[in-house]
């Protein structure tokens, strides 16, 4: 028999007043390089415009690109103190973003599998990414981008145990 007691909303655990674990400080540099490389791809259409005799539109595009890059850089610094994860008894919470803030909760019972990954840039900074997969498709998956290797492994171990028992 499944017990199904009514839940008092005010007594529920609150996710907004949690202690969040921050990433190591060097993730700022990591993001600066990573995001700049990403932004460089956006420059391709501008370059094409410039060489196809549209220097005026290309100039506007370049201006917009600089603006975008500045916002991205400010965002990286501003969000550092907000970006982080919190573990609770039944779920993991991850939050990020300054201009676009978001926070996602995945109950351990819904986790399908986890993955540790290190790209070339990751390795340069000795950072490890932890990916958490659910059955909810790619938008529902969670990537925690830069953790100490030790920490990532411990976190993964913890999650795997929890999700097996949930």
């Amino acid at each position: 028999m499944i017990e199904n007691l009514p839940v008092d909303i005010s007594s529920l655990p609150q996710m907004e007043t949690l202690e969040y674990q921050k990433h190591p400080k060097r993730i700022i540099t990591f993001f600066l390089i990573n995001r700049t490389i990403g932004a460089l791809f956006l420059l391709i259409p501008v370059i094409i415009l410039y060489f196809t005799n549209n220097p005026f539109i290309a100039a506007i595009g370049f201006g917009l690109w600089i603006l975008y890059l500045i916002l991205v850089i400010i965002n990286i610094f501003k969000e550092y103190s907000r970006r982080g994860y919190a573990l609770r008894q039944h779920d993991i919470v991850y939050r990020k973003g300054w201009i676009f803030f978001s926070s996602i909760v995945i109950p351990f019972g819904r986790i399908q599998h986890t993955e540790l990954s290190e790209g070339p840039l990751n390795r340069m900074f000795k950072l490890t990414s932890l990916k958490i997969y659910t059955a909810g498709g790619s938008t529902s998956d969670l990537t925690i981008p830069g953790l100490e290797h030790e920490e990532a492994q411990r976190l993964r171990q913890f999650i795997t145990e929890k999700s097996a028992n949930a």
């Binding site: 609150q14 039944h90 973003g97 676009f100 803030f101 995945i106 819904r110 498709g137």
Partner: protein, 497 residues
Amino acid sequence: MSEFSQPQRQSAMGFVIYIGRNIRTIISLLLSFFAFGALQSIAFIFIGLLVILGVIVVLIFSYLQYEFFTFQIENDELIVNEGVVFRERKVIPFHRIQTVHLHQNLLQRITQLVGVKVDTAGSKGKELEIPALRRKKAEALRDLLREKSTQTITDEKIALEGQASTADDQNQEQQQLVKLHLGNLFVLGITENHLRSGFLAMAFVFGYFQQYADFVQKYIQPKVEAFLPEGSEVNIPLILGAIIVFLMGSILISMIRVILKFYGFEARLIENFIQIQSGLLRRNQYRIPSKKVQFIELHTNFIRRRLGFATAKIYQAQSASSDTNQSLEIPACYAHHQQAIKQHLYSGIIEAPTINVKADAIAYLRFGALMGLLPMPFLIWAAIDLSFYLYIPVAIFYLYVLYSSWRYGKTVTVSINEEMLIISRGWLFPSTIIIPMYKAQSLAISQNIFLKRRKLAHFIIHTASGRRSVRFLPEAIVYELINYQLAKVELYRGELM
């Protein structure tokens, strides 16, 4: 030993099915050959030779495809060998089988053959099709696969045994839900969203003829232009005429679409399944196990709401590759049908919502005002270039965007009761989404800095059949929604899919 334990070919008429498929894949190629030939004035004999060559290749290839396709059942696995150039062996263990369904397209109906499609959970490209079996054999295979695939899951076994005790009720539990007659189809067709059908058709036609753009320009355009009046002045009768033709065409397309899709539609509620079959040229039969259903969505429009019916979309958990038909539709659901579906899927746990929360309508208005500005530079530029009077429709368009986003915002409501999350919204096209809270895979809140200042946020729920979000809810409410649902997810101990 079953009749499938030996490797075997499909019905001999399967040859014809493969011919049909191959012709369909190369028809586009053939057409472009013709267009190209007409353009370059290459001798028709040459094209004729190409066509004959093509036909011979198709015939041989189809025969080989038929010849090389074998299937069998061995050691609780379905094994299919196929491929002409690259031989491929697909093995699907029974416990991985998610759904098995039968379908028939026009050619399959003429040859009286049935296709069997087997879908598995997870990995891409892991579904397989046996396209040409005699009806009896197809049904036997389906039943065998279904039986075997449920046997391997112990939890399901228990559920089946539990039901055996109430076997007497089972026969009565098979209940016809919706059956559509021609009259229903007509009502459905006439109340479709014609503008959408029209634009979809236009997009399709443009997309298709883009390939033959050169041909169209050279041969068809001069002929069309001869009919058009001189000059490029805005011509009111011409525009009106075009609009009327567009509308008539759209209605016609809606009708045809509805009839093709829903001819002979029948939905049944059986034990713990929903069974749906429909289609004029291509007949499909689906069975969805109730526990695989992640959520349902009721769509309607302002006319259909007057008439009192909606389309129920049923979203089920499926493998990543087949996201095209993740939802199944049951059109023409009147209130009592909707009630029956809810009862069937969520028996006992559907009650009147206890808490209703409205989204911030002004935030929707603000958002609409901003989004409506995006196409403005282009529209204004067009107005400068063409005619001053175009400002009037541009202004009307903007006002409409403002008004409709405000009306839309006023309708957005999130309701919860013990077990269900109910999202209802839409002004001209209202929809209601009913999600059992425990089906959530993950939950999220998002907001930008402007919303943060106004203490508003978006709420996002991910399920195994896609995500749904509600924009512009009060921030505190979103956190409460998430906390409450998490508690529900953690309390739930049953099966998800």
